[in-house]
Every structure is written in structure tokens, then in C-alpha cells.
């Protein structure tokens, strides 16, 4: 009986002290109904903007998509440039973690083509010279060395130069861009686009030392820099040590090195029959490049099943479109060499077996298969390598030869030496390198100013009503039913002839507008004011995706999730819970499939709902504001 009473009391949301006589212990039961959601936490509304939340650099995606729809390409570009530094490059090559996260993908079939809309902004912007940050003539007296000229280093340069730092950038390539230049083929990323965005940064007064390899961190530090940033990437392609590997070495190439040799025009051709080993995006770049260098029968052969390949789905599609078959479940056993000449590769056929959630490749017992080849490209992964860092500097490495790096502030174990990009936490992608560059720049700035590295800067946020009239909003709240538009491609007969001819043509402006209109504007938040609600249920009745429920509160979130109009089963998505209303009920909104159409606010008689635009910008070094 006492329990019955306790349950009742606890409904009143109180802290209850209960003495358990039997166990002679004092139990403190902290009972709470689901509390009112704390929307003052900057991460709450940020999380609702799925695309932005999923982006490592947290680019305000809906904000720039709206600008594109409004024809403001320059402004859209600058929103990107502040956040991800390389909009033109990323609009073509990004791994787009935003797209699988896009709410549209949970409501209809396909997410908004976020990545390719970014490219529209980059392609159609006007001059941005006057919008770039001014560089103080009076420097702040601090010198920073950047090792490597890739996306991470360039981001650090971009963030620190406006603050008055003197920056020296070292790279062994003849031009900046790092892997964006050496590993991404020109038919995906034209050199002009890359040059423009690299130069935008180098022109901020960066002293770039190209064709200069840093061979000793000790010597570099001896030059008296206040801080050193290491952004040297993961420059070593993995080799495949199977029988025959060294008998026909001339026709067996490491993928990323081969791509770099093509990019810097040391290699101009390849054999007619080519095998690419590996299933990642590098493998896709290798096979498509091979097609352009004379490869007529190019095949990708991969150990894993097709569906589990690491390559992005669209990269696989593009490869297959260029008549490149992808042969899965084949494990390379040996290189077959006859009379000193490569004949092909012998493969064992396997099939995947799943035990305890782990995949194993079991031989099928079928006879091995010989696939003939004149050349083989090995694209099975890449590694970090730091031969130039002396091991007695106090910079600690782990058992795998990776430097020990703080994943929040990117500091190494030597004061003043920071890492970022693939060099820091292993190979990822450009947008991750940019995000890490921003964090490292903040750390370098804090370090040079003698501040605590762990006192990270807060994001800049702004929540602003979009109300323009009784039922008018400053954003276009109409929900377009259009399906995703495909990006047109240049004809295969043309692109396969010219390695530098870009395959994707980009959206024309009319299609870009229509694609932009598919965006739900998830950054326009449904903000609820408990004290204004009269519980007329109008919002609950109108919500097209049944997100809103007025109900009695529950002790735990799981129970509350179950009793909503449509149970909230997507646990990755939060519930917006109000405080108690007049009748004792609460308003619960499941953020999962909200269309941000504003109908709840339009049907609300007391403006308890308001549509408010939430802008979230991650902090940049020195709290510098670019747009």
C-alpha cells in the first residue's frame, strides 16, 4: 500500500526520501516526470537540424539552401565558406554525412541533394573579394608553422590569419591542396575550382613554402615558432603482400601514389586490362581514372559483399556507369606472373557469414578464379606515417604508430604542437579535416594567448521569430512534394576521352531552385510557450505527420514515447516536452518527422506555437565572425 502512495506522491514530481527499514539504508529516490525540455541548451535545437548536426563542421545547411532558392548565391557561398572553407570542392567531393541524416529521407525516399546545391552556390557566386576577412597589417607577434598544405592546414591558416598570426605553410607538393589535389581526379574536381579556393586562403598573407619537405620536427621547432600544426594527412597507401607481389612490380601500383602521379602528370597511360583491388572511394577514383588512361577492360574486385563496400553509393554508380564491373566476394590470393610479365590475379571465392554481428568471409569451395590484367592498382586503404618526427621529442605515439592526440583540442603531448585532419585521428574525409582544423586553430589561439586549451569557445546562436503577419512567415513554409532531382552528367563518350573533363555538370538554376524547395527548413524551430496554450488541440489535429500529442506525463521517457499519437520509436530523435498545462496534461512533440510546415503555429489561436529560425555557428578561433 505504501508503494501505491509513493507512486502517487511521486507523480507530483518531487524528491522523495524513503527509509528502507529492512535494509537499514537510506534510499534516495529521485523521482521525476519527464521534465520540461531545456531548449536553452544550444544543442537541443541544433540537433533538430539533422543535416547541420551530422556535418562535422556543422555548416548551417537550411540557411544556405534558402539563400540559393532566393538566388543569393554569393551569400550562400559565404555561409559555407565561413563554416567549411572549401564550398566549391566540397560541393563536388564531400562524403556528405548530412544527406543520410536529412529528415526528408525519413518522410519520403530521398534526402535533399545538399551537396550538389552547395556546388550551385559556388558555381554561380559573384566576386567575393570584398567579403573576405581583412588581414591586420600589425601582426600579433606570434608565428605558426603548418606542416602539410591540405584541407586541415589551410583551415588553420584561414582561421588564424585574420587574427594577426604570421603563418608559414610547408608542403612537398608544387601546389597547395594536399590530397584534394593529389588524390581526387580532375574529372570530379577541376583544378580551377581547387586553385581558386586554395588561393583564397594563401592570399590572406600566408607564407607558403611549396616543394619543401619537412624532414625534422626538431629542426622546425628550432626555428622559434610559437606553435606548430601537423596536417600531413595519411599519405601512405597500404600494400598487398601476397605471392608474386614483387615479381611484376612494374605493373602493380599503389592506388593513391598512382593517382598522385597522374595528377602531377608523371603517368599518362595504363594497360588495356586493369584490376583495381579495394572497395573504397579511392578504388572508385582509380578505376575511373584508368578508364581515361587507356584502360578498356577495367574491373574492380573487392573482398566484401557489394552492399558493404566502403565507397559511397553514388561513387559506385558512377563507376558502373562507365562500364566498370564491380566483382564482390573475391579475395586476392596471388599475382600470377609468366615469363616475368604480369598475367593477372588469382582470387578465392568467398561468401559472407555473420556470427555474433561480426562478418567472416568463408571460402565457398569453388575453384579459384584467374582474372587477367596488364596492370593492377591496389587501393585497400591508407596509413599515417611520421618518419620526420623524432621519437625523442616527447611526442608520444601509440602501439600503432599514431600520435597521441586529445580528440577535443587536438593537442599532442608536446606543448605547442597540434594535429588535425587525417594525421590526427586517422583517415576520414575533407569535411572532418576542416572541422578538426577549426578546433586546432582555436587551441593554437588559446595556447598562444596563454589560455586554458579546455576552455572551448561557445557556439554563436540566434533564435528569431519568422512571424510576418497573422499567418505569414519569412520562410517559405509550403512543403514541396517533388522527388529528388538528378544532377545531369556530361556524355560518357566525351568524359572518357579527356581525364580533365568534369563529369557532373551541376544543377541548372531552375532545377536548383526546385531541389532547394525540397528542404523542410528544419532550422525554423517549432517553439512552444506553455503559458499561452489553451489546450484546444488544434495543433494536434492539424499536424500532417502526427508529431504533437497532449497527454498526461509519464515517469520515464520510454513510457511517454509509447503513448503518443504515433509512438515515437526513433530514439535518436528527441521529444519536446512542455511543462504542465492547465488541465494537468503536457504537450509532447516528437521531433522525428516534423515537416516544419508551420501549420501548428497557423492553427494556434494564442500564438503558443511560433516558428523561430535558429542559427547555430560553431565558434571559430578568436570568436572571429566571417558573415
Amino acid at each position: 500500500m505504501i508503494w501505491g502512495k509513493i507512486m502517487w506522491i511521486t507523480k507530483l514530481q518531487c524528491l522523495l526520501l524513503l527509509t528502507c527499514a529492512k535494509m537499514e539504508q537510506l534510499w534516495i529516490i529521485n523521482y521525476t516526470c519527464m521534465e520540461r525540455t531545456n531548449v536553452n541548451n544550444p544543442e537541443y535545437y541544433h540537433k533538430v537540424v539533422d543535416c547541420q548536426y551530422a556535418c562535422p563542421a556543422h555548416t548551417p545547411v537550411p540557411e544556405y539552401i534558402r539563400l540559393i532558392a532566393a538566388g543569393k548565391y554569393t551569400e550562400a557561398y559565404m555561409v559555407n565558406w565561413e563554416s567549411n572553407v572549401f564550398p566549391g570542392v566540397l560541393g563536388r567531393t564531400c562524403d556528405r554525412p548530412c544527406e543520410p541524416a536529412c529528415r526528408r529521407g525519413r518522410v519520403e525516399e530521398e534526402p535533399v541533394a545538399i551537396c550538389r546545391l552547395k556546388r550551385v552556390a559556388a558555381d554561380h557566386k559573384s566576386s567575393i573579394q570584398h567579403l573576405l576577412p581583412s588581414i591586420p597589417e600589425q601582426k600579433n607577434g606570434k608565428r605558426v608553422a603548418l606542416v602539410g598544405g591540405g584541407p586541415a592546414s589551410l583551415t588553420v591558416a584561414r582561421d588564424l590569419a585574420p587574427l594577426g598570426y604570421e603563418i608559414d605553410l610547408y608542403d612537398d607538393q608544387m601546389k597547395g591542396g594536399g590530397m584534394m589535389r593529389s588524390q581526387i581526379p580532375s574529372f570530379r574536381l577541376p583544378a580551377e575550382v581547387l586553385d581558386e579556393e586554395v588561393d583564397q586562403i594563401l592570399n590572406l598573407g600566408i607564407s607558403a613554402h611549396f616543394n619543401t619537405r619537412v624532414n625534422s620536427l626538431r629542426d622546425l621547432m628550432a626555428k622559434g615558432y610559437d606553435a606548430v600544426f601537423v596536417g600531413t594527412g595519411a599519405p601512405k597507401g597500404k600494400d598487398l603482400e601476397i605471392p608474386g607481389r614483387h615479381d611484376a612490380g612494374a605493373n602493380i601500383h599503389i592506388g593513391i601514389q598512382w593517382l598522385a602521379s597522374v595528377a602531377f602528370e608523371h603517368i599518362h597511360q595504363i594497360g588495356k586490362k586493369v584490376i583495381v583491388l579495394g572497395g573504397g572511394n579511392t578504388a572508385m577514383d582509380c578505376c575511373r581514372t584508368a578508364r581515361r588512361l587507356g584502360g578498356e577492360q577495367v574491373k574492380v574486385v573487392v573482398r566484401s559483399p557489394f552492399a558493404e563496400m566502403k565507397a559511397s553509393p553514388w561513387e559506385k554508380e558512377d563507376a558502373m556507369h562507365e562500364d566498370i564491373p564491380i566483382i564482390d566476394n573475391h579475395v586476392p590470393k596471388s599475382f600470377v606472373v609468366e615469363n616475368g610479365k604480369l598475367k593477372g590475379v588469382m582470387f578465392e571465392k568467398v561468401s559472407p557469414v555473420y556470427e555474433d554481428g561480426k562478418r567472416k568471409l568463408k571460402p565457398t569451395g569453388e575453384p579459384d578464379v584467374l582474372i587477367e590484367a596488364d596492370d593492377v592498382l591496389i587501393a585497400i586503404g591508407q596509413e599515417n606515417t611520421f618518419p620526420w618526427i623524432e621519437r625523442d621529442l616527447g611526442l608520444e605515439f601509440d602501439q600503432w604508430g599514431m600520435p597521441i592526440i586529445n580528440p577535443h583540442n587536438f593537442a599532442s603531448t608536446v606543448k605547442g604542437v597540434f594535429f588535425g585532419g587525417d594525421a590526427a585521428l586517422g583517415p576520414k574525409n575533407i569535411i572532418t579535416a576542416v572541422a578538426q582544423g577549426h578546433e586546432a586553430a582555436i587551441s593554437i589561439d588559446l595556447y598562444c594567448q596563454g589560455k586554458d586549451l579546455n576552455e572551448r569557445l561557445e557556439p554563436r546562436t540566434k533564435l528569431q521569430s519568422t512571424k510576418m503577419g497573422i499567418h505569414e512567415w519569412s520562410y517559405d513554409n509550403y512543403v514541396a512534394a517533388d522527388l529528388r532531382y538528378a544532377v545531369p552528367q556530361a556524355d560518357k563518350s566525351e568524359t572518357l576521352r579527356d581525364r580533365k573533363k568534369e563529369v557532373e555538370l551541376g544543377f541548372d538554376l531552375k532545377t536548383a531552385f526546385k531541389e532547394a524547395q525540397r528542404c523542410f527548413n528544419c532550422d525554423v524551430q517549432t517553439v512552444f510557450a506553455d503559458d499561452k496554450c489553451i489546450e484546444c488541440d488544434a495543433c494536434m489535429d492539424i499536424c500532417p505527420t502526427s508529431c504533437i500529442t497532449f497527454t498526461y506525463n509519464e515517469e520515464d521517457e520510454a513510457a511517454l514515447r509509447q503513448k503518443l499519437l504515433v509512438p515515437a520509436l526513433n530514439l535518436e530523435q528527441d521529444l519536446l516536452v512542455s511543462g504542465p498545462l492547465k488541465t494537468g496534461k503536457v504537450m509532447v512533440k516528437d521531433e522525428d518527422v516534423c515537416l516544419h510546415c508551420g501549420l501548428c503555429a497557423e492553427r494556434c489561436p494564442t500564438a503558443a506555437w511560433d516558428m523561430q529560425k535558429y542559427l547555430y555557428n560553431t565558434a571559430k578561433a578568436g570568436h572571429h565572425c566571417y558573415v
Partner: protein, 350 residues
């Protein structure tokens, strides 16, 4: 301002036995004022039809004139509809019902359409026990003409502009019981947990079913001093207890203590369960019901729930012995049986 609803719906909407989701019972986007109680009633009708597995084409929506009478556009887009003349919805319903007794007739009216211009029609359709559901969306004012007091406005109720109503208000439920209605319920648009089972029971009742729903007019009659505002109705709502509707074929699984629940079987085999009934109240005893209504009125209480239920009534089609087969399914031969039959009929009157 939005004029259409987005086409998307929640990907995990449940389906009823017919394979329809609630979306399939919805209508166009409402043009009523934001927060109008009528929209909640529309939503309750959608929910009731969804839960009863009613095929939308088996429903005929009928209405007169007024804010309430616009609502059939906002629910059951796949049903039949007739937006008739002011106060004349019962006539249309009678004609349609006599021509085809297979459909579910859902009349929607307001307090003006019912208690003023349509009062005569209202009384006579009750007397005749037409098999229909008659929903009154009762907000106590003429919302469409800027909120003048209607005939159901309570005496002493204050309008938005401050004037106090000097006239007695018409109690539609009391009147309906007096006139011999066989199903009389009263509810509140802001309490769907009560309204939905009432609507389901009304739709399963054979005979005339009045559902009088207090539905606040947010624009003209939701002020302090009004007896039809959200706040007033919530404060003075005297519920007769929870009503459960149990469709035919579903078993009542919960055990109740004697006297806790009263079960009433409807014509189609489904059952209505009355919970926590008051000692002095039996929904099948007309005299007790009238007493309870008068008592509530004197105490400024609004009695809600299924007030009265009489399963012994004979609906109009059975009284008149009309054809079981809808007229539109009869052939010319049956409809015009010829002069021999006519003279035989005439002979019967000589």
C-alpha cells in the same frame, strides 16, 4: 498562410481493418479560425470513423449553413456530402434516408442552424426517429456574423463586447429527450477522450442520435463571463463518467465489480459501457435523466456523457415500411409497376 495540407504523413501510421490510415478519413485544410472547437470535433469524427472501420463511401455528410456547417469539407473527403439550405438539413437527411437506408447519415449543424432557423425541422426529425447522427457544434453565438448571442446562449452569459444575454437559453438535450429522441449525448470539443466513444456509439445506434457538443468560439465567445469558453466549460463540466464503446465481436475482457459498470447493448450487437455511474442516474430512465439535467442546470453544471439511451424506438424507415433496397438499385419495373398495380392501390382507398 497555408491553403493545402502537405501530402506527407507519418511513415508509421497505424491502419484499421480496412487497411486505411487516419489520413484517408481526413478532409481539406480548415478555413475556420485557428483554435475553433469545430476543428476538434471534425478530428473526433475522423478518429471515430477510422476506429469503427467505416468505409468512407458509406457515409453521407449533411449540413445546413454556418461555421459548423462548413466542417463537412474538413473531414471525410471520400464520403458523400450535401451542404443544404439554412436550417433545412433534417429535410434533406429525411429524403436521402428514405431513398437509401444503407448509408450512415451524419448531420452536422450549429446552434443557429438548429435552435433558431432550423428549430421546427429539428423537432420534427426527432419525433420521427430518423436513423441519423445529428451533431450540433454548439458555441452559443453566431460566429459567422461576428458573434451575436444565439438561442443556446445561457442567460447571464457575457459576450465579447460585454453585453449580458437577458434571454433563457434553449437546452437542446432536454428538448430532444422531451420530443422522444432515442439517443442523447452531450460533450465538449476539448475532451476527445469522451467525445470519440460517444460518436462511435451514436454511429452504431439505430434511430435518431443527438450529440450536442459545446464548442468554444475562440474569436467571439471565449472571453471571461462566457459560459461557452474553454475555461468555463472545463471548470463546470460534470461528467457522468467514462463511456466505453465495445464494437460487435469484441469481448469485454476487464472484470468489473457489481454496480461499477452498466452495459447497454445496441441494435447492431455492439455495447456501450457506462463507468462510475452516479447512484441517482440511469441513462435508460427518462425521468431520472430529466431530473439530472434540471439539477445540473440549477447548479450551473454542464452534464456530459451519454445522457439518454432508448433501444426500444422504431426508426422511420421501419415505421413506414420502406424498401430495404435503395431506390437507386431498383429497376424501372419495380419503381413503376404499371397501371394495374396503381388501380389496385387506388381501390384500397375506396
Amino acid at each position: 498562410m497555408s491553403y493545402t495540407k502537405p501530402v506527407f504523413h507519418h511513415p508509421h501510421l497505424t491502419k484499421n481493418e480496412l487497411g486505411y490510415t487516419k489520413k484517408d478519413y481526413e478532409g481539406s485544410l480548415s478555413t475556420l479560425c485557428a483554435g475553433c472547437g469545430h476543428d476538434s470535433i471534425s478530428a473526433a469524427i475522423v478518429e471515430a470513423c477510422f476506429e469503427l472501420n467505416i468505409e468512407p463511401h458509406r457515409v453521407a455528410k449533411l449540413s445546413g449553413i454556418g461555421c459548423s456547417s462548413k466542417t463537412p469539407a474538413y473531414f471525410l473527403n471520400n464520403s458523400h456530402g450535401f451542404n443544404s439550405v439554412h436550417g433545412r438539413m433534417p429535410s434533406i437527411a429525411t429524403g436521402a434516408n428514405l431513398a437509401n437506408r444503407d448509408l450512415i447519415y451524419l448531420g452536422v449543424s450549429g446552434d443557429g442552424d438548429t435552435a433558431s432557423i432550423g428549430m421546427g425541422q429539428f423537432c420534427h426529425v426527432i419525433r420521427r426517429n430518423l436513423n441519423m447522427i445529428y451533431v450540433v457544434m454548439n458555441n452559443g453565438c453566431y460566429g459567422l456574423t461576428k458573434g451575436q448571442d444565439s438561442a443556446t446562449a445561457d442567460k447571464g452569459s457575457k459576450a465579447k463586447a460585454g453585453n449580458v444575454n437577458p434571454y433563457e437559453g434553449i437546452d437542446l438535450c432536454g428538448l430532444a429527450i422531451e420530443l422522444g429522441a432515442t439517443f442523447v449525448a452531450q460533450s465538449f470539443s476539448g475532451d476527445k477522450s469522451q467525445l470519440i466513444p460517444i460518436l462511435k456509439a451514436a454511429m452504431s445506434h439505430k434511430g435518431f442520435a443527438l450529440v450536442n457538443v459545446i464548442s468554444p468560439c475562440v474569436t467571439f465567445n471565449n472571453n471571461v463571463g462566457s459560459t461557452k469558453s474553454y475555461d468555463y466549460v472545463r471548470e463546470h463540466n460534470e461528467s457522468l463518467g467514462r463511456v466505453d464503446f465495445v464494437p460487435l465481436g469484441e469481448e469485454i475482457t476487464t472484470q468489473y465489480e457489481a454496480g461499477e459498470v452498466k452495459e447497454v447493448k445496441l441494435h447492431n450487437g455492439s455495447e456501450v459501457l457506462f463507468h462510475k455511474l452516479r447512484q441517482d442516474f440511469d441513462p435508460e430512465n427518462k425521468i431520472e435523466v430529466i431530473n439530472a439535467l434540471q439539477k445540473a442546470r440549477s447548479q450551473n453544471e454542464i452534464l456530459t456523457g451519454i445522457l439518454y439511451l432508448d433501444n426500444s424506438g422504431v426508426e422511420l424507415n421501419d415505421l413506414l415500411n420502406t424498401t430495404e433496397v435503395p431506390l437507386n438499385q431498383l429497376s424501372e419495373k419495380e419503381l413503376c409497376p404499371g397501371s394495374a398495380v396503381l388501380s389496385e392501390i387506388n381501390q384500397g382507398y375506396r
